[in-house]
Amino acid sequence: MGDAALIQALQGIVGEQHVLHSPADLAAYAVDATPLLRSLPTVVVFPGSTAEVKAILELATAQGVPVIPRGAASNLSGGTIAINAGIMLNMNRMNQIIEIDAANLTATVEPGVTTAQLAREADARGLFYPPDPGSQVISTMGGNVAENAGGLRGLKYGVTRDYVMGLEAVLPNGAVLRTGGKNAKDVAGYDLTRLLVGSEGTLAVITEVTVKLIPKPETKRAALAVFNALEDAARAVARIIESRIIPCTLEIMDQGTIKAVEDFAHVGLPTDAAAVLLIEQDGARAVVDSDIELAGKICREEGARAVSVAATVEEGTKLAEARRFALPALARLRPTCVLEDATVPRSNLAEMIRFINATAKKYNLTICTFGHAGDGNLHPTCPCDERDHEEIERVEHAFAEIFDKALSLGGTITGEHGVGISKQDYLEWKIGEAGVAVSRGIKAAFDPANILNPGKVLPKATRKRLVVRQG
């Protein structure tokens, strides 16, 4: 089938106004939030229903045309780049909240609903959808499920995976699959729900998501602690958790990030500090108060040179502002911003950050680190300039070493951004030969014609590990 016939067939399925194919249209869909990548799809389609998704997939399978599911294209791993051209399948027309079930504490949404939209609607009913990726104003629930998105609240509340109870998804052959449901307990067969969570659009197209909601916490409070030494901050993190406090956010920023934030937003952070911790607790007022007081005390004991504890929710919001400015501040430094998510067990936090700093120095790069200290999910961020090919090469080498180090500390190559094409050549480092083999088997079982987001996740070639393991 030629391109023209394909376009016509798709127009027949969704209607002419829901198909784009002019050169300009295609160029706008050639990119996502991942730096450096660009590839044109053949055609862009906006299905309005599960039935239309089904018809599109049947057509694509019959014709052997790649299909790339797409939410808001805010992913950072090249997940929505049409590397082999094909149909860009936009899910954003399917953007209705189908139901919020207060009796079962669930919400059922179409995949194009944004994370923030769901969180807002839940909040309006006194309920709470905790996963809060930094991109929540724009990211879609379909994209969150497909990437198993995390966020600031991961330590206490878990990630998207922990909230998905059921899915409707269309398989490449057009079969409509329903997994899970509203049951808290359900062990009927393989856990297909969890298999689809984090499948990055390579196994099925998600057309409906049912998530768990929880009651909204009564209140929250924040504290900000400033440290002269990274080790002190890391020890404070460990001790807070040892003291049986699980804060809802426990974020760290290193010196580079602090400097950038202060230059940009003038929030009053001391730029000679080695690290700041933002600690937030939510829940019943008495518990929140005692947790925050104790966390503040621990920080002081571990050598914090200043600890501010917010008296009110508004004051807390102000303290949290410093952390919110991390990305905007770093993104402004240079044209390109490489945002990674190497993750280590919490106990290795200080060592990992120190290694990142040493690696940056070795390759003559600026790499600033901030992230979710509580769950060890770090965001080493490298402001650079994609027009400087030599610099980009150094960036790639540096991050290869950083991923290797994270693995050697028992961590992972990606905590929440996914594999896509950015990390596929590192995947085997993490999941091993057996892991890759069984993943290939799963892919073949779902998508024998290899039309769904082909060329993603599974390794094309495995990178030689660059560094000899230390220790």
């Binding site: 050169p23 160029a27 706008a28 939030a33 808001a72 294209a73 805010s74 104003v137 905007p328 993104a331």
Partner: protein, 441 residues
């Protein structure tokens, strides 16, 4: 005309384009994206298109349509975590398109007469005002509307705007009410000298609103001079890719205001005010003008902004429920959000309710409602529905194009028949001030 890739890179401001990290945070802030859900109608998409041209993947022709679709509200700049100057990219792209595009005879004529001759010179603006008044009072307007002449010649969009246009005051009334060069004395202790920037369309069609603003300034202790020799702010020229003409406007205005002994340049049009404040960016690379522009921009104030900074004027009751639609450029460029709200809060008996999406464009966008009526009217219709949902009897605006467009939108929704009005904030404040005065009597 063909340009080399290096030239295109330069004129499209590739330097600025590459600051976009494509996170997509702008999408939910963009009125045309929210309406269409199509990436080429979003800021991220449009930047990708400009970039594709600068890097040789597309031609200028191919991206003209999607760029024309942008209202230019610049809400995306507020949403952008990387601080990308979308306005700069958009204006550069439009200027590049105009420079390289083959224009039809009609377009050339409209650009020359409309933008260069009428709006491009103070004399042209005066002539335009006279023409419009003549059109309205002689019954030509009525005749043309009845016979469908306007619609046939200028299209439905212009016809609807024409019908929504308020009555233009007569040249005599305008002369008596204080025109160019007139000085309005401060009432009470004089605190500041103000040069009033009238705006071109504003001074023709919203003449009364300007006089309301001036009366407020007088009562707040300002001597107000209608600075002679001023013209259009030049915003309409940047929006239509006429960069050279826009810079001419800026220079003329700066020179005109420099001649007068004033502390502030004050205006009552959020869009014009934003342009005045951006002269410093427009002329930043012009060695002769950069400093003068910076000084001028720093002295500019919106009417709400300056009234808040001066001692409060006594206000009297002006009952009724109102809602407010922000002017995009006042909010997103001048960053004035709380100012108009604080001023409305000073009006006794006025009940203020938020419309819920006051930060999202009404669809007016300077001349957008004429060039892209379908999108503009769809957005205006949605906005009218939201006004209705608030139960407000008045929609308060801070910028004349919004006033005109929302008047037309309310008319289309039949809400004008239900008595719902669009009023400029200066009018609301003035009526409240007058109420206080008559109470005293």
């Amino acid at each position: 005309m063909t340009a080399t890739l290096a030239e295109l890179k330069e004129s499209l401001k590739h330097e600025e384009i590459i600051n976009c990290m494509r996170c997509g945070f702008c999408l939910q802030a963009c009125p045309t994206y929210k309406l269409s859900l199509h990436e080429p109608k979003s800021p991220r998409g449009r930047i990708a298109l400009a970039r594709a041209v600068a890097e040789g993947h597309l031609t200028l022709d191919q991206i003209t349509g999607p760029l024309d679709q942008c209202i230019g509200c610049r809400a995306c700049e507020v949403a952008c975590p990387a601080g990308v100057h979308y306005g700069t990219i958009l204006e550069a792209a439009r200027a590049t398109i105009v420079e390289h595009k083959h224009q039809g005879t009609l377009e050339k004529l409209v650009r020359k007469v409309g933008l260069k001759w009428v709006l491009g010179t103070p004399g042209g603006i005066k002539l335009g005002a006279f023409g419009l008044w003549f059109w309205q009072v002689t019954g030509l307007s009525w005749l043309a509307r009845r016979t469908g002449l306007v619609k046939a010649v200028a299209g439905k969009a212009v016809a609807e705007m024409e019908a929504a246009m308020p009555k233009v005051p007569s040249p005599i009334k305008r002369f008596m009410g204080g025109g160019s060069g007139h000085v309005f004395p401060a009432i009470g202790e004089q605190r500041a000298k103000v040069g009033f920037f009238t705006g071109c369309i504003q001074e023709i069609t919203f003449w009364k609103e300007n006089r309301d603003a001036i009366a407020l300034l007088q009562n707040a202790g300002c001597e107000v001079l209608i600075v002679p020799g001023q013209g259009c702010c030049g915003a309409v020229h940047t929006h239509t890719g006429e960069e050279g003409t826009s810079h001419d406007q800026a220079k003329r205005n700066i020179a005109a205001f420099e001649k007068c002994q004033i502390d502030y340049v004050v205006n009552a049009a959020g869009g014009c005010g934003a342009a005045l404040k951006e002269y410093k960016l427009w002329l930043a690379r012009d060695p002769e003008w950069a400093q003068r522009a910076a000084k001028f921009s720093a002295s500019c104030r919106d009417i709400s902004e300056i009234l808040l900074a001066l001692p409060p004027i006594p206000m009297g009751p002006r009952p009724g429920r109102v809602t407010l639609q922000d002017s995009c450029h006042m909010r997103n460029v001048q960053k004035l959000v709380s100012e108009p709200r604080k001023m409305l809060a000073r009006v006794p008996a006025l009940e203020f309710v938020e419309i819920g999406n006051a930060d999202s464009c009404c669809g007016a966008g300077g001349v957008y409602n004429i060039t892209q009526p379908e999108t503009a009217n769809a957005i205006g219709k949605d906005k009218a529905g939201r006004v209705k949902a608030t139960g407000a009897q008045e929609l308060v605006v801070t910028n004349p194009p919004c006033q005109l467009h929302m008047r037309a939108s309310l008319m289309r929704s039949g809400m004008d028949k239900e008595g719902v009005r669009v009023v400029h904030i200066a009018t609301v404040l003035r009526e409240s001030m007058d109420a206080a005065k008559s109470q005293k009597k």
